[in-house]
């Protein structure tokens, strides 16, 4: 991924344009699937230029919240504001130019090459009268370089490892050139090395292009290490939010996950590390 420093993926921000401090805001947001309410009267601000990680147990509504931020879900009550405007009043195309969302485990048709996948990220910038341009070509190339997928561009997705495939999808989202990027468990089903690979990439994107990133993560220690802000959710509500070292405490882990854990500061990074405690005490494996 040394390519990144040479050709950073172009910062999509217009030079000189003043961006509002709060890019996405949930106001009294209630989200339901039919009768089942998943998110209740939730208020949350996503600040410009930050990486926010949303954590919480399975079914706490974090992915649902992300979908609402991407306008994939209509609220039953409350609103989502994108740059101060209700997101449901903004045309689909315009949302697509500002917000990119990568769902959990996306699927591609068999035989699709990395280059073709990434090129499809340019869809919002095209129309029947505006076909493929040199801008599109440049955006695709930059996205491929930023994700370290340039050399693999002609491979089909089926031929790649899980980590490479995830990077290819992120490259597609990058080619879309949105200032906001929402990632739903991008490290799902990846081994530890690939998880770090993907999160390093997200961090680099943030540093080189100033993108605002919201990411749903399961691993608490990784979330604390890679995010500027943590949002902890339980039962469709925000339980705590703020800097990782303030949010991630032993009490919070107990409250949100019902799990006893030690939280220590990592000497290397200064970010909190969560060490879960087993019911079986010090040596869980001694046959107790």
């Amino acid at each position: 991924m040394t390519e990144t420093t040479r050709t950073p993926s172009a910062a999509p921000q217009d030079a000189g344009a003043v961006r509002p401090e709060v890019r996405l805001r949930a106001e009294g947001l209630t989200l339901s699937y039919g009768e089942r309410t998943v998110v209740r009267e939730l208020d949350l601000d996503i600040t410009n230029g930050t990486v926010t990680a949303i954590i919480g147990p399975n079914g706490c509504g974090k992915s649902t919240l992300l979908r609402a931020f991407g306008r994939l879900m209509k609220p039953t009550a409350g609103t989502v504001l994108l740059d101060g405007r209700p997101i449901h009043g903004i045309p689909t195309r315009e949302v697509a130019e500002r917000v990119g969302l990568l769902p959990q485990s996306p699927a591609a048709p068999e035989g699709l090459s990395v280059a073709d996948l990434v090129a499809r990220g340019r869809h919002p910038h095209q129309s029947w009268y505006r076909r493929w341009s040199s801008d599109d070509e440049a955006a695709v190339e930059q996205a491929l370089r930023a994700t370290g997928m340039f050399e693999l561009a002609e491979r089909t997705l089926d031929e790649l490892s899980g980590g490479q495939r995830q990077r290819a999808w992120i490259a597609m989202a990058l080619a879309q050139e949105t200032e906001l990027l929402l990632l739903d468990e991008p490290t799902n089903h990846l081994d530890l090395a690939h998880q770090i690979e993907v999160l390093d990439l997200v961090r680099e994107l943030h540093l080189t292009t100033g993108r605002t990133v919201v990411v749903v993560l399961h691993d608490l220690s990784l979330a604390a290490r890679y995010a500027d802000r943590l949002v902890a959710m339980k039962d469709g509500r925000v339980v705590a939010q703020g800097a990782p070292s303030e949010v991630l405490t032993e009490d919070l882990v107990a409250e949100v996950f019902g799990l006893r854990a030690r939280v220590r500061l990592d000497e290397e990074t200064g970010s909190p590390l969560v060490i879960p405690l087993s019911r079986h005490g010090a040596k869980a494996a001694d046959g107790a």
């Binding site: 949302v95 697509a96 699709l112 090459s113 095209q126």
Partner: protein, 338 residues
């Protein structure tokens, strides 16, 4: 990457050229071959400077009409097949699956049974209306279901509409001998007997259908990444599905009304196109149309040759050629999963 990417684009272009060449050849053979074979000179004479010789008459009144019909219907069925597979994400989608053939059949029979229209010019339009009704119904049922028109709701609604219209048709032909006779002939699928004027009347519908199909392909590419990703890429899903269903209905409805429920063309054409060009609907739709037309013409020409001096209908020939080709395709797993 640039070199490799352009290599890929070059391959797609070359295949498209080859397919256009094959189609041109199929057109020539369709005009030239039959009970009485004609040479290139005679064909040229008959097409551009007809003076009433025997060859001219064969070209003008026998071969040209069926060639144009097969060409137009083949283009329509090929392109529609590709769209159907894309929107239903179903590798065996064809006019039967979406209930459109059944709708056209019902229209043809109903025009005879209810109002006694028996001329070809008359019942073709009722066939088209029936197909349009079926297409609209399938889309409406799909769209009104919670979650909208998805591949699954479209396929299920198609199966239901097919069953309904087939039952109505069966009921009517049971009571009406003449309707049964017409239906029996129509249902085999044929391109002989339709006057050139009829096909020319159908042409604008197919032209509009092909234009809508072309407009639909970028959205279809985005949709093949899943509805969530497509929506995030700025695709308006409902509008896109409606556009696709309109194109499918125009193309299939017109072709099926004129020629009868011809299967396999869109199915085989789409699979070959996907095999040649990969999962990009801009190419799949164009190439499936070319392959569809070539298949129709070839099947019709062969049908004239195998049973001389009689002939086998194009629908029968297509099944005879199409089945083995398709089985071969299915055996390559790669060609099937969408």
């Amino acid at each position: 990457m640039q070199q490799v990417a352009s290599e890929r684009a070059r391959k797609r272009r070359i295949w498209t050229f080859v397919l256009v060449g094959l189609l041109a050849l199929a057109v020539l053979l369709s005009i030239g071959l039959g009970a009485q074979p004609l040479g290139p000179g005679q064909i040229w004479h008959g097409l551009w400077s007809a003076s009433g010789t025997e060859g001219d008459v064969i070209v003008r009144s026998l071969r040209l009409p069926r060639t144009v019909t097969a060409l137009v219907a083949g283009l329509a069925l090929g392109a529609a097949g590709a769209l159907m597979q894309g929107h239903t994400r179903n590798p065996i989608a064809d006019p039967v699956l979406l209930g459109i053939s059944a709708g056209a059949g019902m229209g043809v029979v109903a025009s005879l049974f209810l109002i006694g229209v028996s001329s070809l010019y008359g019942y073709v339009w009722f066939g088209f209306l029936g197909a349009a009704l079926a297409g609209t119904l399938v889309y409406a049922v799909g769209a009104l279901t919670r979650g909208g028109a998805t591949p699954v709701t479209l396929a299920l609604a198609g199966a239901a509409v097919h069953a309904l219209f087939t039952a109505l048709t069966a009921g009517m032909v049971l009571f009406d001998r003449q309707a049964l006779e017409t239906y029996r002939f129509w249902t085999v699928g044929s391109v002989s007997g339709q006057p050139l004027g009829l096909t020319l009347q159908a042409l604008p519908f197919i032209a509009v259908g092909l234009a809508l199909a072309a407009l639909n392909t970028p959205g279809l590419n985005a949709l093949s990444l899943g509805e969530d990703v497509a929506r995030m890429l700025g695709v308006r899903i409902g509008l896109n599905r409606a556009l696709g269903m309109a194109a499918i209905t125009l193309l299939t409805g017109t072709a099926v009304a004129v020629c009868g429920p011809i299967g396999f063309v869109g199915l085989v054409g789409t699979h070959i196109a996907r095999y040649l060009s990969g999962p990009d609907y801009r190419w799949i739709v164009a190439q499936a149309a070319l392959i569809g037309a070539t298949l129709m013409l070839t099947a019709d020409t062969l049908g004239r040759l195998v049973a001389r001096p009689g002939e086998l209908q194009v629908g029968i020939m297509l099944a005879l050629i199409g089945a083995p080709v398709f089985i071969q395709l299915v055996r390559r797993r790669q060609a099937v999963r969408i």
